[in-house]
Amino acid sequence: MLRKAQTPAIDGWYKIGKKPQLIGSQCKKCQTYFFPKNDRECRNPRCSSTEFSETSLSREGRIWSYTNACYQPPAPYIVDNSFIPFAIAAVELEVEKLIVLGQVATGTDVDSLAIGMQVELVIEPLHETEDEVKMIWKWRPKDL
């Protein structure tokens, strides 16, 4: 049986592979970061630059808060077989000074999470289509 190809669930938001990273942008004038990428106009009201560089965001951060989904979310969330509850974390990136939400890596439930805990970015399946596995970023505790 052929293995299905792994592709990003959302195009252009992150790199998958060995060193996965979220792809953001940074204002060349005031240094403000954006995730997802912004290339229209800087949203710092004191800046109106239209010059951005694409940038990979920090792969590590600290948990700002966390929760879980005990029930199956509605569409467009997709369940392949049966729904398995998952944890969710809001993670603070120190350099970028912003918080990014994401699911927590499979197998880690809320009881093993804490605010301030160091986590790193990983890529895991979100759901499958007929010929592809759609991959998404998740947060995984570093010390577990």
Binding site: S65, V95, V100
Partner: protein, 395 residues
């Protein structure tokens, strides 16, 4: 007091899951408000409706729909979409029309029939819409409420018992409100026993979605005097400000916050900034407030609002709750209507329902939920896409 308008009539259709057309609820609320004001429909020169966008008919939940239902009579019309703050923006439009002298008396109205189950975005592959993205990732509304609740537990030592106590308090108040959906007085054990939806929040910590309608008749202070309502409660401030960059709390439906990496930029709290403009406009402070109707999408969020409105220092709201000060009869009753806990959310009507409750309380007509000697009240709410509002009503 040149910016004040009088609330001369209030009307509501009971909240519930009635399965009828939203126009029917709106009509009932409008007719009740007109009777309450003793103003004839044909005297209304401006109809300002709160809007919502879903159910396949965007643009239909609108001021004009209600104007037609009441019978076209040539009034000017407005429709305001601002998510949960739609009602307050509709009120602000009516107030501005009245203050400018373009109209003396207006109907402000919001009504909704909510779909069954979760509120969810339209389908397809639409990564440009943050609301689509977060649902695709499995991030629902309770996710955000739970993130805030967990922080309160971690930073301030709030407990699950505190959250349950809020449900118990609001259910008790709501049981005495003829317009609330849920009349049952729940016990702390029942809240604790309900299933966890988004840890640490249980089913009974989270508000439902409902059908309902609320309407106000607002007029110039002169008009109110002329028809013998010189002591009618007045809207003395409305804030519908946006967040201020860099918004530092991850808000529905976003997947990330603003970055505060630029020089001279700090993270700011939207909810905390919202009431400031209202207090400034009214020329009062939190110490002058007698009661508040706040958007308790979750039990824990009520505690955040108490602090955001300046009614308690940061981290101190639970201590007010434990002393009973936020109950009817306490120092600063919160959600004497029963709040969203007892109503469930009917988006375009909800901000107006909050103003209806303040008006009823300030008139001394709240019956068993009456707060004694209430003179000034404030509302607060927040919804998707940077919409929120605070309204101050005084007698």
């Amino acid at each position: 007091m040149k910016n004040e308008v009088a609330i001369i009539g209030v009307g509501m259709h009971p909240w519930g899951k009635w399965g009828k057309h939203f126009t029917e609820y709106g009509l009932a609320a409008a007719r009740m408000a007109l009777r309450d004001a003793n103003v004839s429909w044909e005297d209304i020169r401006f109809v300002s409706g709160g809007a919502t966008v879903r159910c396949g008919y965007p643009g239909y939940v609108a001021g004009a729909t209600f104007a037609q239902a009441l019978g076209w009579q040539g009034a000017e019309v407005n429709t305001s979409y601002a998510a949960c703050a739609s009602g307050s923006q509709a009120l602000a439009a009516a107030r501005d029309k009245i203050i400018s002298g373009a109209c003396e008396v207006a109907l402000v109205i919001g009504a909704d029939t909510t779909p069954k189950g979760f509120l969810a975005p339209s389908g397809g592959y639409r990564p440009d819409d943050p609301d689509w993205v977060r649902f695709y990732l499995g991030i629902t509304n309770p996710t955000y409420f739970a993130l805030y609740a967990r922080r309160r537990m971690d930073l301030y030592g709030d407990t699950l018992d505190d959250f349950a106590a809020i449900k118990v308090k609001n259910a008790k108040a709501g049981s005495k409100n003829p317009f609330s959906r849920y009349k049952k007085c729940f016990s702390a054990e029942e809240v604790a026993g309900s299933a966890v939806v988004a840890d640490p929040l249980r089913l009974m910590d989270i508000c439902a979605t409902s059908d309902g309608a609320a309407a106000l008749i607002v007029s110039s202070v002169e008009y109110a005097k002329r028809i013998g309502k010189s002591s009618a409660p007045r809207v003395i401030a409305i804030s519908t400000t946006t967040p201020v960059f860099a918004s530092g709390i991850v808000e529905m439906p976003d997947i990330a916050t603003d970055s505060a990496a630029a020089e001279g930029v700090e993270h700011r709290s939207f909810r905390e900034n919202l009431p400031r403009k209202a207090y400034e406009e009214a020329g009062i402070g939190p110490e002058d407030i007698d009661l508040a109707e706040v958007y308790d999408l979750s039990t824990a969020l009520e505690l955040d609002w108490i602090e955001d409105l300046g009614l308690a220092s940061r981290g101190e709201a639970a201590s007010l709750l434990r002393k009973g000060e936020t109950s009817i009869g306490g120092k600063i009753p919160i959600n004497a209507s029963g709040g969203l806990a007892s109503f469930g959310e009917a988006v375009p009507a909800q901000a107006l329902a909050q103003v209806c409750e303040l008006t009823t309380q300030l008139r001394g007509q709240a019956g068993e939920r009456q707060i004694e000697n209430a003179k000034i009240g404030i509302t607060a709410n927040q919804g998707l896409f940077g919409h929120g509002s605070a309204v101050i009503v005084a007698v």
